[in-house]
């Protein structure tokens, strides 16, 4: 992690290569799960839409339907002169590694994964930090001392959410039980709300009364099952508090939209920089959501505890273990 430059650090290099780039002609590739997953992809769509609204510049887009299309889509956009080509999703790393060297003048952006190429900007988020904070809230809201986690595809990135969440829960209540389930081991796991609901029901039957989902479109089923059972759920990526007001405790917001927007805007201003950007609580890349839909659910004590955890992490007083640093989690 020490190697990772922060957004602020990276911005210092801006400006050098500016004149060479004219107006941006961006393209966005959405990962499996679909553009309207109310989660990860929808967040990147919102970022692109914001850029379009502010600059009036159209962008091109493609929704991946299968793994085979990843490289093809990247190559196609690069060949047609799109710049930057933005793709959200860790699964695109190998495709990007293959395509980026062939188009040295094109800027690529990958979100959620690091690709070490001179023309690629890799945006990663410190999901464990945000997950820790919602874990604190979950533990305080739980009356049964049992909370749940439903992940999408079983990959280290999703384990990172789970591990941060579990650490947050245990920091409040060391005896709490954290149930965890993954939806599947293929890309289809991002879009299977029927199974998501079934997993949530299983956790509810085991006593969970707060369930955090990090499962893309699958999460819709998790949150519905939680709302049906009258328990709390926690949204992910986008602010999902509005989906089931009164049932969604909070959302672990991951500002994919900001990453997409910034990449397009930087290109447009000629200030695009390759390299790694790691966005955490301090940079506003992850956060917990508080709005009119969940204001009644968050007591002043909970808000104070969440803010304290957030401040502690930013100040460095609380260290949240990153699952991806050693592929293991200190708490279960």
């Amino acid at each position: 992690m020490k190697l990772i430059k922060t957004l602020i650090g990276a911005a210092a290099f801006a400006g050098a290569a500016s004149a060479a780039y004219a107006e941006a002609n961006p393209a966005v590739i959405f990962d499996l799960g679909g553009k309207y997953d109310k989660s990860f992809n929808e967040s990147s769509y919102n970022g692109a839409e914001r850029f379009k609204a502010e600059t009036g510049i159209e962008y091109r887009e493609f929704e991946l339907q299968s793994d085979a299309q990843r490289e093809q889509a990247l190559r196609r956009f690069a060949q047609q002169g799109n710049n930057p080509v933005i793709v959200a999703g860790f699964s695109n790393a190998s495709a990007m590694n293959a395509v980026a060297p062939d188009f040295p003048d094109t800027h690529f952006v990958i979100i959620d994964m690091v690709v070490d190429q001179p023309n690629v900007r890799s945006v990663v988020f410190k999901e464990h930090e945000g997950s820790y904070v919602v874990g604190v809230l979950a533990a305080m809201a739980s009356k049964t001392n049992t909370v749940g986690f439903v992940g999408g595809m079983d990959i280290p990135l999703i384990r990172k959410f789970e591990c941060g969440y579990a650490q947050g829960v245990k920091s409040v209540n060391a005896d709490a039980t954290v149930l965890q389930n993954m939806t599947g081991t293929t890309g289809a796991a991002w879009n299977d709300p029927v199974k998501g609901g079934e997993l949530a029901k299983g956790q509810i039957e085991q006593g969970a009364d707060v369930i955090f989902q990090a499962a893309g479109g699958t999460g819709r089923g998790v949150m519905q099952a939680a709302a049906d059972a009258g328990i709390y759920s926690i949204g992910v990526d986008a602010d999902q508090n509005y989906m089931f007001p009164g049932s969604v405790l909070t959302s672990m917001v991951k500002r994919v939209d900001v990453a997409v927007y910034n990449a397009m805007m930087d290109e447009n201003n000629g200030t695009f920089t390759p390299g790694i950007q790691a966005l955490g609580l301090a940079e506003g890349g992850v956060d917990w959501a508080l709005d009119e839909y969940n204001a009644k659910l968050i007591t002043p004590e909970m808000k104070a505890a969440a803010d304290a955890a957030k401040a502690g992490i930013i100040a460095g007083d609380i260290t949240v273990h990153d699952y991806m640093s050693d592929n293991s989690c200190p708490v279960e």
């Binding site: 309207y36 997953d37 599947g184 029927v194 609901g197 949530a200 029901k201 299983g202 039957e205 819709r220």
Partner: protein, 332 residues
């Protein structure tokens, strides 16, 4: 208690398989192979979700502003559309004597594409329907006395947790099994239906229309597939349609049908077995045996592995109806 939770989950997961396999039973018993179960179920899921959504939407938002009956209307429309697909399959394979597999595959492709296309046109959210509210779905039914007998040892939890608390379609599916048995094996209609699947020429000689019998069978199959589809979008936590939500269940239903040797009771057993295996795969994701950990991938593949093992080893010879797949040509 854990077993009870597993069985509860198994019943929910088995319901769409059961309905689709019964649909296949009627169709194949009459000599029409139906590989399009998947497509009809998917279309049923979309139509049910879409019409329930539109009917319940406020008039101001372009809906019809109904306040009750949306779910039943969705179910009704799902049946109508699914039967229409069945009639197309019937027309191609009975009247035109085409290849039954090809027409079935065509229905699957047609459904996969049309649902997303029409869904995008109507709701502008990537082929998904809006999330359905409680009264737009089939809600769980608490059977009489479920709360009263909850504390009775053994039988109490079985009645209140396992038998009670499902939605109406689950009960319809379970009731359809004895009804199917009665129709197929105790009525004149059923005898004739089975006869056209075994020896259509004999039925024809007896002065009964093979064509009409087979059309009747595919129409019944369409009705059942429509109900199965409506269950997916209106009876699960998905609370709406998402693309490809049938996720291969139609094909698993075909396997269940072979498993069941084309018998109604066997269909029930096979569907429950598949449901149970899936429930196990969901619940026990990584089993720690002390010496080593069984990985989640294995647990999720278990239903399929067991299917192969049981099909190959234990089921014995499964003999399909003799005239299955053969278009009937009257001798001249």
């Amino acid at each position: 208690m854990e077993l009870l939770q597993l069985m509860d989950s198994a019943v929910r997961l088995a319901t769409p398989l059961l309905l689709a396999a019964l649909a296949g039973l009627y169709s194949e018993r009459s000599g029409i192979f139906d590989i399009g179960l998947e497509g009809k179920m998917l279309m049923g899921a979309f139509v049910a979700g879409a019409f329930s959504a539109v009917a319940g939407m406020p008039v101001a938002d372009g809906g019809w502003g109904w306040t009750h009956g949306m779910a039943w209307f969705g179910l009704f429309m799902a049946i109508i559309v699914s039967v229409m697909l069945s009639l197309i399959h019937g027309f191609a394979s009975i009247t035109l004597r085409g290849n039954q597999l090809i027409s079935g595959v065509a229905i699957n492709f047609f459904a996969a594409g049309t649902t997303v296309l029409v869904g995008q046109e109507w709701f502008h959210s990537g082929g998904m329907t809006p999330t359905l509210k409680d009264n737009q779905r089939f809600e769980p039914i608490t059977l009489p006395f479920a709360d009263a007998v909850k504390d009775v040892p053994v039988l109490g939890p079985i009645y209140s947790d396992l038998i009670s608390g499902h939605n109406i379609i689950v009960y319809i599916a379970l009731a359809a099994v004895p009804v199917t048995w009665w129709i197929l094996f105790r009525t004149r209609f059923g005898l004739r239906l089975r006869a056209v699947g075994e020896n259509p020429a004999a039925v024809d000689t007896a002065g009964i229309s093979v064509i009409k019998q087979r059309y009747a069978a595919v129409i019944i199959a369409g009705v059942l597939c429509g109900v199965a589809g409506a269950y997916l979008s209106l009876g699960t936590s998905a609370a709406g349609f998402v693309k490809d939500m049938s996720a291969g269940k139609g094909f698993i239903a075909l396997a269940a049908l072979i498993f069941a040797k084309w018998q109604p009771r066997g269909v029930l057993m096979a569907a429950l077995l598949f449901g149970f295996l899936e429930a196990i795969g969901n619940k026990y994701q990584s089993v720690d045996l002390g010496l080593f950990v069984i990985p989640v991938q294995f647990m999720q593949a278990l239903p399929y592995i067991l299917t192969v093992v049981i099909l190959a080893g234990f089921i014995g010879k499964a003999v399909p109806p003799a005239a299955g797949g053969e278009p009937y040509v009257k001798e001249r």
